[in-house]
């Protein structure tokens, strides 16, 4: 690690911090597999015991259908959901827990926005602006909304290193722009998008701003009011919570004005044979029985993340990203995508081993208990723009450590040796 420390510009104390890992013991899967280097955190996080126990506790001590119950268990179930709503509201700087809508995942949150705001707002000749970095979740809903309304989809492009210039922002976001939908952190290249600058331009042009925070919310402190966006989506499962719980934040007056997305039980005040009166926000957007246990556990995951603290999360993930980048830079047979500065990657590094298909690389790494992702990462237009059909991607979280990085780099060497008859 000393070499890596020198090459990656890690300070001695940063390198030392990565040698110790106070977090792994909190994660039952990682504790049970001490030899596993799990570096696919951008696909889904591992879960701390606190989250798993919370879901179990819900079913063991407060299980009932929330919201409509008139008995104490149901009241408790409702309170558990509302506790999570308040935690998540605080976590992203929402003005009120009422601004937090629970969905199944960030994809559903973004579909909700495209179907309600998008289809209500957009007319022929209008423009929706997204970036080339977008995950398919923040791309296809807008392609479809444009098809249905006759609006045009326009794309923001970063420079070679992945940074957006003010000129590009001003040239693309114009008076014709009605909605700007943008990721805050690329799930492929790891760099942060200047959402605040983009939102400022969108405001000047009178456009709404939708932020895909699926990759950013677990790794950066988010303040939706400081970003000055209108809507913000993320998934619990990338933020230490369970699968099947998504979040959509929106400004209250905007959510009040939007039509419902899904209809049915729980989202109404009253129903007659002729029609229905919608429940107030957020219930208006929460049709049907919610995954109350999952939502409760998602709140516990966020609390765990807050206890670790973003100061520690960012410092550790930055150091891990720089160590990964420096290690790969020492290997001339590896090509890395995105910013040259390892600190700009937020722990996410996309790369290819020259002449070897990413699926072969990830299969060989799997044989050495190193888990990475290979493929298009649900961002095919970005990969096409990068000039490749697939990459390998290592993505770190604060519960990774120096040993994970070392084992990953050794496994990359094995891939190269295996294909070149050196092993």
């Amino acid at each position: 690690m000393a070499d890596l420390c020198r090459a990656s510009g890690l300070t001695a104390s940063e390198a030392e911090n990565l040698e110790v890992n106070p977090y792994k013991a909190d994660f039952p899967l990682l504790a049970a597999h001490p030899d596993l280097a799990y570096l696919d955190n951008a696909a889904t996080a591992q879960r701390p015991a606190a989250v798993l126990e919370a879901a179990r506790r819900f079913y063991e001590t407060m299980n009932a259908n929330p919201l409509r119950g008139l008995y104490s268990l149901s009241v408790e179930a409702t309170a558990a959901m509302e506790e999570a709503r308040a935690t998540i509201a605080r976590f992203i700087g929402a003005a009120s827990p009422r601004e937090i809508i629970f969905t199944r995942n960030a994809s559903e949150s973004l579909n909700l926005v495209a179907r309600t705001l998008g289809e209500r707002m957009l007319r022929e000749g209008d423009e929706v602006v997204i970036s080339i970095l977008e995950h398919h979740s923040n791309l296809i809903p807008w392609q479809e909304a444009c098809k249905r309304t006759g609006a045009t989809l326009r794309w923001l492009y970063p420079d070679q290193e992945g940074f957006f210039s003010q000129e590009e922002i001003e040239a693309t976001i114009t008076p014709a722009t009605k909605i700007v939908a943008i990721t805050q952190l690329s799930n492929v290249l790891g760099m942060e998008v200047p959402v605040a600058a983009i939102a400022r331009r969108a405001r000047e042009m009178g456009a709404y701003v939708v932020v895909d925070g699926a990759q950013s919310a677990p790794h950066l402190p988010v303040d939706v009011r400081a970003l000055d966006c209108d809507l913000f989506a993320f998934s619990a499962h990338k933020a230490l919570g369970p699968f099947g719980v998504g979040v959509l934040w929106g400004r209250l007056e905007l959510l009040d004005a939007l039509p419902p997305f899904l209809t049915g039980g729980e989202m109404i005040d009253s129903v007659s044979q002729e029609g229905a009166v919608w429940a107030p926000v957020p219930q208006k957007f929460e049709a049907g029985t919610q995954d109350a246990a999952g939502i409760y556990a998602a709140g516990v995951g966020i609390k765990y993340l807050e206890e670790v603290g973003f100061e520690a999360v960012e410092a550790r993930e930055s150091a891990l990203g720089r160590a990964l980048m420096a290690g790969l830079a020492e290997r001339p047979f590896v090509e890395v995508y995105g910013p040259e500065d390892g600190a700009a990657h937020h722990g996410v590094v996309s790369f290819n081993v020259k002449g070897i298909h990413p699926h072969d690389v990830s299969s060989i790494l799997d044989g050495q208990d190193v888990a990475i992702r290979a493929g298009h990462h649900c961002a095919q237009p970005l990969l096409t723009w990068l000039g490749t059909s697939a990459t390998c991607r290592a993505s770190a979280a604060f519960y990774n450590d120096a040993r994970d990085v070392e084992r990953f780099l050794e496994a990359i060497d094995t891939v190269w040796s295996l294909f070149h008859g050196l092993a």
Binding site: N105, H135, A214, H357, H359, S363, H377, G421
Partner: protein
């Protein structure tokens, strides 16, 4: 967890690094393209049938992962001298092997060194890579004209499901 080093054997890697049949067959009597859109595997199988209807020579061109290319090269070796019916049977046997329905031992007589791909049955996402050449061959012999995809009917690459 299966060890992929069981998959990336010297035999497979030899076919990848030094393929015997990676060229365009100039006097091919039929050619057929097979693709795995999510992987980028894109292989074309070429074959020359002899006057008696047996397969005289098979080759492959295109790009893909080591598993798809190595598997194609091994297949080309095995096809020579077979009737189209025998070749289709062999393709079906290979399919059973990589889906884990037939053991490497039971497949070895028919599939020779291609039986070393048996361990891919433990890696569901990679089965389509191993199968690509074989399914393309099978469809070519069945007279298909549209490019073949071994992803048809399979769960697509989920990427970073959100």
């Amino acid at each position: 967890m299966a060890s992929p080093n069981q998959l990336y054997t010297p035999a497979l890697l030899e076919h990848v690094q030094h393929p015997d049949w990676n060229f365009e067959l100039e006097d091919a009597t039929c050619s057929h393209e097979g693709v795995n859109p999510s992987c980028g595997d894109d292989l074309t199988i070429h074959a020359r049938l002899a006057d008696d209807g047996t397969i005289a020579e098979v080759s492959w061109t295109g790009e893909g992962c080591a598993v798809s290319k190595g598997s194609a090269d091994m297949m080309a070796d095995l096809m020579v001298g077979l009737t189209p019916t025998e070749a289709k049977t062999l393709c079906a046997t290979f399919g059973e092997l990589v889906r884990g329905e037939l053991s490497a031992e039971d497949a070895e007589e028919a599939l020779d060194e291609a039986a070393c791909l048996a361990s891919i049955a433990h890696m569901p996402a990679r089965v389509k890579c191993a199968e690509l050449a074989w399914r393309t061959m099978d469809e070519m012999l069945a007279g298909a004209t549209e490019p073949s995809s071994t992803e048809d009917g399979l769960v697509p690459d989920a990427g970073d499901a959100r």
